[in-house]
């Protein structure tokens, strides 16, 4: 038998599995069990409602949009924080984690206060027809806020370990800055960028606390799927709420699988281009 580096493999594996089961699988099983009470007919009724569809669409499309914004801006911020030395860098670095630490409701209230028609920014934007609070852009803004740290924090260690020689080699072989970025650096970062993207996306899909304050919550327009779940609970409709939760869970799961496939493919691609 091969000797393992860590002693007590059986014990630690057993512990890890039991822990995962208790913390993740058991609640999920309870959710599935509650959801099964809705029946096939109820599920079809739930899913065929245009309002359910609109809410799911806002949650998923909004979260994807927010994750794309976070991926682009997060890459930029991570790059600046890793590659440049400037006064206040450590402070800026600490600020990145703030969305993790802030209770989401506080974030929602702060954003609403800024972008409401009488807010600091809202009073300039709303007269020009740019409505952010109480409209779908507000939903995306809140999602961007809560998902922001994921991309920066996943990229930072990879950027730090990135070999500068490769860039220098590319430049000495006559590659332009753009070519160096898109053909050399980005392929190496892409798998990690996707991880950050997936985390930001998953976080935004389920976000409730900050979004409800800024959304306006008008059915078919600015109502997110988690709010629809809360509404079902308020009707004492546990099965409906759990079923909608399961639908969101399955959709998120499929999305995450697609992202991880994309990641594998991009990793291979990165190795080939090397």
């Amino acid at each position: 038998m091969r000797r393992r580096i860590l002693p007590g493999f059986g014990l630690s594996l057993g512990y890890a599995l039991a822990y995962l089961g208790l913390i993740v699988l058991l609640p999920l099983a309870a959710l599935a069990w509650k959801a099964s009470g809705i029946g096939l007919h109820g599920l079809i009724h739930l899913l065929s409602s245009p309002r359910t569809f609109a809410a799911l669409k806002l949650s998923f499309v909004g979260a994807t949009f927010a994750a794309v914004v976070n991926a682009v801006v997060g890459l930029l911020v991570a790059w600046v924080l890793v590659r440049y030395r400037f006064p206040g860098r450590r402070f800026l670095d600490a600020l990145v984690d703030l969305p993790f630490a802030l209770p989401t409701a506080v974030a929602g209230i702060a954003l609403t206060a800024l972008y409401a028609p009488n807010g600091w920014l809202g009073q300039w934007l709303v007269p020009h027809g740019i409505q952010i609070a109480y409209a779908p852009p507000g939903v995306i803004l809140a999602m961007v806020f809560v998902g922001f740290p994921f991309v920066v924090r996943t990229l930072q260690p990879v950027l730090e370990s990135l070999d500068r020689d490769v860039e220098e080699a590319a430049e000495s072989l006559g590659a332009s800055h753009l070519q160096t970025f898109f053909r050399v650096i980005l392929p190496m970062l892409f798998p990690t960028l996707l991880t950050g993207f997936a985390l930001a996306l998953a976080r935004a899909v389920g976000e409730y606390g900050s979004v409800i304050f800024i959304a306006g919550n008008i059915p078919m327009r600015s109502e997110i799927a988690p709010l629809l779940i809360v509404e079902k609970l308020e009707e004492f409709n546990y099965a409906g709420a759990a079923a909608l939760g399961m639908v969101m869970l399955i959709a998120s799961f499929v999305l995450l699988i697609v992202i991880s496939l994309l990641q594998r493919w991009s990793r291979r691609w990165a190795e080939q281009t090397r």
Partner: protein, 332 residues
């Protein structure tokens, strides 16, 4: 977090009861905007109980959305007393066998020691000239009211609007439905709770009218200064009756029935009624009403029982999945 709080409350209860056998702890599970009210009620009741029996009583509070609170009690939050926004939520608790089916007949006045009504809060000087329900659906008027699906308070708002339309000359169900449909098209923000709506209107400056409980409107006026908002009383409104009840199976388990019953009776006493009136709820006792007559103008009201046959029927007809509120909204 809530569960953690519950556990803490439970631990505290256990410790306190084991230390002083005669001293009691009550848990009053209430809805959101009653924080100020019950803080004062609890202090006054504890003083009275101590004077009469020589025992200390500690009353712990839990606040939240009314139906959410009801769900917590159903799921095991050990409430001795529930004081919620509408009878349907206590019905839901009694459906699970935690208190007697006829709970609402056990105390006077439908078990609602204090009442309120639905009024309009408008900006200073009433620039849009809002006088009655009909003015809310005029072009260019924005109305703020919470989502009746998630807020018990908002269900009273909805029913007040419905009742108004029904009682107009030539009014019928179809016209009432058309009116509330038009009304909700004037709502730019549907907050999940009544306090949220008050904040959207008062702090964020959104909307021309806030449809609110009179108690919330008076509180907002007091908090923001009299000069900021005017209260408009419509021609007719609903009598909002937030009920209270002792949770039978929990008080029997805790051995707190006597003190819990004394607590809810205290809400009907002249001292309790005065505190309620000071917290902007309309008292039931004529003597206390007379004392606060300036604060509560006369309003024509109808009750949920007379107009809608009680909360169970209203809930099924208007707020259940696929019922009238869903039908008037977009996308159903």
């Amino acid at each position: 977090m809530k569960k953690f709080g519950t556990t803490l409350a439970l631990l505290a209860t256990l410790t306190i009861t084991s230390l002083h056998a005669k001293d009691a702890t009550l848990l009053n599970v209430s809805y959101d905007p009653t924080r100020e009210l019950y803080r004062d009620i609890n202090a006054a009741f504890a003083t009275q109980w101590k004077a009469q029996h020589g025992d200390n009583v500690t009353i712990q509070m839990s606040h939240g959305g009314s139906s959410k609170q009801a769900r917590s009690v159903v799921e095991g939050l050990p409430a001795d007393i529930v004081t919620l926004a509408l009878a349907y939520d206590i019905d839901a608790i009694s459906d699970r066998g935690l208190l007697a089916k006829d709970w609402q007949k056990r105390l006077p006045d439908n078990s609602s020691p204090y009442t309120s009504t639905i009024v309009f809060l408008v900006r200073k000087g009433n620039p849009k000239g809002i006088k009655d329900w009909a003015d809310l659906i005029k072009p260019g008027v924005q109305v703020i009211t919470p989502n009746p699906k998630t807020s018990g308070g908002a269900r009273w708002n909805f029913l007040a609007a419905w009742g108004y339309a029904l009682k107009q000359p030539g009014g019928n169900e179809a016209k009432a439905k058309a009116y509330v449909q038009a009304l909700y098209q004037h709502v730019p923000v549907l907050d999940t709770g009544a306090r949220g709506s008050t904040n959207t209107f008062a702090q964020r400056g959104v909307g021309d009218v806030l449809v609110a409980w009179e108690s919330e409107a008076l509180l907002a006026q007091q908090e923001m200064g009299k000069g900021t908002f005017d209260i408009v009383v419509p021609s007719i409104s609903i009598l909002a009756e937030p009920p209270v009840a002792v949770v039978d199976s929990n008080v029997d388990k805790h051995g707190t029935r006597a003190v819990a019953e004394a607590y809810v009776k205290f809400l009907y006493s002249s001292e309790g009624q005065t505190i309620e009136a000071k917290s902007f709820y309309r008292p039931r006792l004529p003597a206390v009403s007379a004392q606060f007559a300036a604060q509560f103008p006369k309003v024509n009201t109808f009750t949920i029982d007379d107009e809608f046959g009680g909360w169970r029927q209203a809930q099924t007809k208007f707020f259940a999945d696929g019922a009238i509120f869903d039908q008037i909204g977009p996308g159903h």
